[in-house]
Amino acid sequence: MNAIREKTAQGQSRDPLLSMRGIGKTYGEVRALSDVSLTLAAGEIRAICGENGAGKSTLVKALTGIVAPDKGEVWLDGAQVHFAAPKDAQAHGINLVSQELSICPDLTVLDNIWLGALSLPFLHRRADLRSRAAEVLKRLGAEHIALDGLAGHLSTGERQLIEIARMLARDTRILILDEPTATLSDKEIHVLMSALKSLRAHGTSILYITHRLGEVFELCDHATVMRGGTVVADLPVAELTRDRLIELMLGRALGHMFPEHHIADGATFFAIDRLNVPGAAHNVSLSVTKGQIMCLTGQLGCGADEVIRVVAGLVSHANGRITLDDAEIPLGRPEVARRRGVRFVSGDRAEEGVFIDRPAWENLVAPRFVERGGAKLVQNRALRGEAAMLADRSTLARHRLPVRTGDLSGGNQQKLAFGRNIGDGAAKLILMIEPTRGIDVGARAEIYRLMRDFCEQGCAILMASSDFAEVLGIADVVATMFRGEIVKTYKTGHLDMTRLIADVTHPEEENA
């Protein structure tokens, strides 16, 4: 194994470390994969790109023994292998950071990191494990996360880091990451990129799934592009451009990613006045006019998410004053917030976003069951019509409507969480936390357009996003946040990437 590492550290190796050949997988009638092949050399980072539902997650699940492929072979080190379960893959040094988080909230961070590691002897030295875990966290730039703290107290982004740390702590030859950066902010992503590059330098091979195309160009050597369960391209990243990659993914060129900004000013439509959330946000005040999209941005834990959750009525221990369209919104009362026209798209899809066991169409029309009197009869036919309309709007293919939500790809689930909040005329303010998390470029452009359309109808959007390109592209007003406080508020055009990054990392120096 060392020999292989050395060989590749110098350059390309001839025979690949891993090759998957002719992999096929169907779920009932759905062809998730057909005849997919890819190779991975030692010390190579290969991107797997494709639209939502293209089959990326299914492919890596088939590789790691989470799902059993119907067809095809997997070869490792020139020998054919079969992985019946993830632990078999792990025994061969193949580890997957999956798209859906699998953190145990009631265990400590340390236990979570070592959870499921095969190399742990029954009796082990805890001190040893501690230092190794701490070292891994340090590599990810997450030293601030306490090893003895409960994982349940961490934010979504921090949980994602723990998830990555878990796989880094194991002996890994092939590391697979399925959208690891969807919940991270730029700074953490940056650290993760360098950690992955240094792994590559040491000969580890990586399969990397992402919808953030910039990462493909920064990090990856090769790209496999998938569409509808097949491979449509397999080429070195050096031969790709961003536009070409998008074209391969979507099968068409993408017009503009972001719609025009809203420039006109007006009277205050929505305002937060001196909002405090103990331990999370201090003295936050802001105001939004009709037609505006306001974006709160910062690093993990900057407090943007909490501010949004307070407005949604989901935080009980906050104080401050919130008004929407001249009516005050009481704190900690989600049902009142809804009646006053507030809609909330949670950043935590599995926990707060979708109803996993229910079909997709029911997820889209779920608000109708809430708005109506309990004894009212449900017109299933009308509701299904409405669901189809909402699916069209949020670019979800109609044939997915009867599917159990848990069987949809991650991005398509996100479309449900988003889509259900754009349906009714009573909405005035949509709150969003990372609304395009895990959504492919094509659908993303469509969602930005929808957001803009919604605002044009005399409404407003308040969102939290840590994707800085998204922040600059969609927001009319940006508030940068650091440690629970707003650093500064900018109108569109008065902010650039450098300034944004400076604000959310070193606001003190910036303001001095």
Binding site: E351, R358, V370, N380, R404
Partner: protein, 319 residues
């Protein structure tokens, strides 16, 4: 796993997908049903009119409680340990109020039982208390209070007012007709009313409901209230049938009820299931019970057999 609570998707299920639904698990369940049916038919005395009448009458009592239990399970609160005790208490209420006439007595029993359980639902939903603990405590409280009030003695129906409830509807015993109607009504509530959908959605993901601005605790209260209501129906039927209100009536009822719910295939974790399933599950349990009795097993072995079969069927349903 297919869910029956949505009557059909936006697309008609094609023949292909129907085939896909006949999974191994379903086949095994079907097999278990066939084995039981064969066993029942081969049991001497099973196919006699009195045996069948008694079977469908007793199944109605547990069946109505199972319908109630299904609401609780669907709402994501596992099961209630106090439905049997609620039933006993409601039979007492029914008999005690019978002096005011049959309709007021029925109303009193139903309302009492619904309110008693709604209260538990409120504690479970609003304070996010553990449903197992709350309903176990309620079991003890209800039984304790009722015993001290009655001195442990039953109340007997001395007049003829409730006789109508024992009659037949054509060839069908009255209680069984009531049970079937209850199953239909419950299914209607579940799949055709906003409340029913709220209960199921709450059972799947209460936090998503909260984020949507719904109040999940209210759906939980309603689920318990409905559970109480249908248990109340069982109480009225039983009191009329046995001519008494008695604390013995409901003993062990929650066990048979939850067995019927689970054997029917409603998911214990909530959010998936239907009343048709519970109806069939109750029938399965009742037939099994009757076979065990007719084959002359002693009470201990009947219990053993029931437990073993329930465990087996539930294991077989897991994929």
């Amino acid at each position: 796993m297919n869910s029956d609570t949505d009557l059909s998707g936006p697309l008609r299920p094609s023949f292909e997908s129907m085939k896909a639904r006949i999974t191994l698990g379903n086949a095994v369940t079907l097999f278990a049903v066939l084995v039981l049916a064969a066993l029942a038919l081969a049991t001497p005395g099973f196919l006699s009119m009195p045996a069948i009448r008694s079977l469908v009458t007793t199944v109605s009592f547990t069946g109505c409680v199972a319908i109630g239990m299904t609401f609780i399970t669907l709402s994501g609160n596992l099961m209630s340990f106090s439905l049997g005790a609620s039933l006993s208490a409601a039979t007492l209420v029914f008999v005690a109020t019978l002096g005011a006439g049959i309709w007021p007595a029925i109303l009193a029993a139903l309302l009492f039982c619904a309110a008693l359980n709604a209260l538990q639902g409120w504690i479970v939903g609003y304070f996010r208390a553990n449903p197992i603990i709350v309903t176990m405590a309620s079991f003890a409280i209800i039984t304790g209070v009722a015993t001290s009030l009655t001195g442990g003695r039953g109340l007997y129906i001395l007049t003829n007012v409730a006789a109508g409830l024992k009659g037949n509807l054509g060839p069908v015993p009255g209680p069984f007709a009531a049970f079937a109607i209850c199953a239909l009504i419950a299914q209607l509530i579940l799949s055709r009313t906003a409340l029913g959908r709220r209960i199921v959605l709450t059972g799947t993901n209460p936090r998503a409901m909260l984020a949507m601005g719904a109040e999940p605790w209210k759906a939980v209260v309603w689920a318990y209230a409905l559970a109480g209501l249908f248990t109340g129906v069982a109480a009225v039927l039983m009191a009329a049938r046995y001519g008494s209100g008695d604390l013995q009536h409901g003993i062990g009822m929650e066990y048979s009820a939850i067995a019927a719910v689970l054997v029917g295939g409603t998911a214990i974790e909530g959010g998936r299931g239907s009343f048709l399933r519970t109806f069939l599950g109750a029938l399965f349990i009742a037939v099994l019970q009757s076979v065990l009795v007719l084959r002359g097993f002693s009470t201990e072995w009947q219990r053993f057999g029931m437990g073993a079969v329930v465990l087996l069927v539930i294991l077989l349903q897991r994929k």
